[in-house]
């Protein structure tokens, strides 16, 4: 019990520090969101008069001293109000909720697929350790896991999309398309998501593979497996019944932990494929210095990572029977 409280308070402290950093960082960026002297190539300029700028600044509370802004920021957060985006003219929360599902689609699909493939290949490798299958798969996986996601994404973009026209170059779906049924819509979305998900999956599979391979190897050489073999149980049964479950523990905790790491990769990949998720939103808002938006994205991403870490912790404690036992004894 004490343990849980201690853990919680630690997380809370971490969270508070992050909130403060979140507040300070966008504000130390030079350049203000209301100044428009230059424009993108081919676009009109908009020049706000100084009176307009002052009015907007007041509207967004940016004329108040920092400590006061900080207080307001914290109070609003308690109400779940993330503020109003200066550039997008809409509530930050609304925009985030609209874009979040796309990022989640990429990240969760990638985690799911990479875990499955990684585990399968890893188990295969472990079973045939140092023999032919392992010798082929191992170096391939190592290489794959080390190539940075955006580099991999570029290859896929050029080869599969730009050259072979197998996949669209960007976007999440075909718009204003008349879909007859839900399957057609889902297929369209899947088609657009294939390359980004493939990129993220390939990047993650290597790590999962290695983990599964190691874990499975350890388990396979344990005594209880020998017993099972001695009992005459077939290899498949051994694999499924006995080894997999124990090998899964580090894999599952790793899955949760890797969710956090995937967020960074997702940002880059979304920009490569112009996918309308949080990653692209982040880059756009940094470009226009939209403070509330930047803060909102940071917060959401950080919360996500904290949650993933917390879940990993929880999963580890619950799944590993040794710890579960110890927890009962200690207090």
């Amino acid at each position: 019990m004490q343990h849980i409280v201690k853990n919680l308070s630690e997380y809370l402290l971490t969270f508070l520090v992050i909130l403060t950093l979140n507040f300070v960082l966008p504000r130390v960026m030079p350049g203000d969101p209301f100044l428009f002297l230059s424009s993108d190539i081919g676009e009109e300029i908009a020049r706000f008069t100084p009176a307009q700028e002052a009015a907007y600044r007041q509207q967004y509370g940016l004329h108040r001293p920092w400590p006061q802004q900080y207080g307001i920021y914290l109070l609003r957060l308690l109400r779940g109000d993330l503020g109003y985006s200066i550039y997008y003219n809409q509530e930050v929360m609304a925009i985030l909720l609209a874009r979040l599902p796309w990022t989640l689609l990429l990240v969760l699909s990638a985690v799911f697929l990479s875990t499955i493939f990684g585990t399968l290949l890893g188990s295969l490798s472990a079973a045939f350790r140092d023999r032919a299958p392992d010798r082929i798969i191992y170096p391939l996986m190592i290489t794959m896991s080390e190539i940075p996601p955006f580099l991999l994404g570029l290859v896929l973009l050029f080869v599969l999309a730009a050259s072979m026209h197998l996949f669209p170059l960007s976007g999440a779906m075909t718009h204003f398309a008349r879909h007859e049924n839900i399957w057609s819509t889902l297929t369209d979305i899947a088609h657009h998501a294939t390359l980004p998900v493939l990129t993220l999956t390939l990047v993650r599979t290597g790590a999962m593979y290695l983990l599964a391979r190691n874990a499975m190897t350890t388990v396979l050489t344990r005594d209880y497996i020998r017993t099972a073999r001695a009992k005459g149980l077939g290899p498949a049964r051994i694999l499924a019944r006995h080894s997999l479950r124990n090998a899964m523990i580090p894999v599952i905790t790793r899955v949760f932990l890797s969710l956090g790491g995937l967020v960074g990769s997702a940002i880059l990949v979304e920009n490569v494929f112009a996918y309308p998720g949080l990653g692209r939103l982040m880059r756009e808002s940094v470009m226009v210095h939209d403070y509330p938006m930047i803060q909102g994205i940071f917060l959401m991403v950080t919360l996500f990572v904290l949650l993933a870490n917390g879940l990993a912790d929880l999963a580890y404690r619950r799944l590993d029977p040794r710890i579960a036992e110890k927890r009962g004894g200690r207090s």
Partner: protein
């Protein structure tokens, strides 16, 4: 039971037997990787000797394809790409080495302090590490790059600030274990000073760990710098590999012309080879440095 043998057998009958022998040398791919890295480093350091063109000055026609005069062609301004590549390698080299050293040594020292001192110091440091681990590094780097302005120094500072954590954690765990060892306790009871202990006992154990960690760090730093440059946040006149790719992709019509075949492909290849080589080398060294990582049983 572990069999420790210094002898290397190039061929053996059963795979499991080979696995049991502890290697004290690099594998074939490890040596390949090392060779590759040294070549790249050498080319970058000796850049002015390897190319007669300047990486900053227009020296040829715009978007020329590879030829004798320009072995990798030119970009849209007419600047030789091979020159940009070898000079750009310096950026990766500097970023990789500097970050690795700073973060590795810094992380190592902090890890030792945390592990050895324990108590409040340890708790504070662990708290700091946890916070840094949770902060999503890329968004923070993007914002910091916007704040400090794009430059190599910014990267170096920002990357180091994030990278020291992993080394610190690993080193700390090791120190925690070491601290309880019998001979350490004995030395303490004899009045051995902290510095002596550090120097004589801890460092030799920590050093291999830290070194391997630093290679990892270098790889990640190079990738991070390339990623940020690729997003357009790098020092725009630096010729870093990520930046060359950024300029190539910003070119209007890159998908419909042939220019990417040399403009985009060469920095991509350079980056991928370097990063992969570093990773393979790192893994190999890991196996040598810490036999526990191999999880071998008898």
């Amino acid at each position: 039971m572990k069999t420790v043998s210094l002898a290397a057998t190039a061929s053996s009958d059963s795979a499991s037997k080979a696995a049991r022998i502890r290697k004290r040398y690099l594998s074939r791919s490890g040596r390949c990787a090392l060779f590759l890295l040294l070549t790249i480093a050498l080319l970058s350091i000796a850049a002015p000797l390897v190319t007669s063109h300047s990486p900053q000055i227009v020296s040829g026609p715009s978007l020329a394809s590879p030829s004798l005069a320009h072995p990798l062609g030119t970009d849209e301004l007419g600047v030789d790409l091979w020159a940009q590549l070898v000079f750009g390698g310096r950026i990766s080299l500097i970023v990789g080495i500097a970050t690795a050293i700073l973060a590795g040594i810094g992380g190592g020292i902090i890890g030792i302090i945390a592990g050895y001192r324990g108590g409040l110091t340890d708790r504070l440091i662990m708290r700091l590490i946890d916070i840094l681990l949770v902060l999503p590094d890329l968004p923070v780097m993007i914002v910091l790059a916007a704040f400090f302005g794009p430059s190599v120094v910014t990267f170096f500072v920002v990357l180091s600030a994030f990278s020291w954590v992993t080394t610190a954690r690993i080193v700390r765990s090791r120190v925690l274990v070491l601290r309880e060892r019998g001979y350490i306790k004995m030395a303490e009871s004899y009045g051995a000073g902290t510095f002596y202990l550090l120097h004589r006992h801890f460092l030799p154990e920590i050093f291999p760990l830290a070194t391997v960690g630093m290679i990892r760090l270098a790889g990640r730093a190079i990738v991070a710098e390339a990623g940020l440059s690729f997003l357009g946040l790098g020092d725009p006149t630096s010729r870093s590999w990520g930046l060359i790719m950024h300029h190539a992709l910003s070119f209007n019509g890159i998908y419909y012309t042939d220019f990417w075949k040399w403009w985009l492909l060469s920095p991509w290849l350079a980056l991928t080879l370097t990063v992969t080589a570093l990773a393979i080398l790192g893994r190999d060294l890991e196996k040598i440095a810490d036999p526990r990582m191999e999880k071998r049983q008898c």
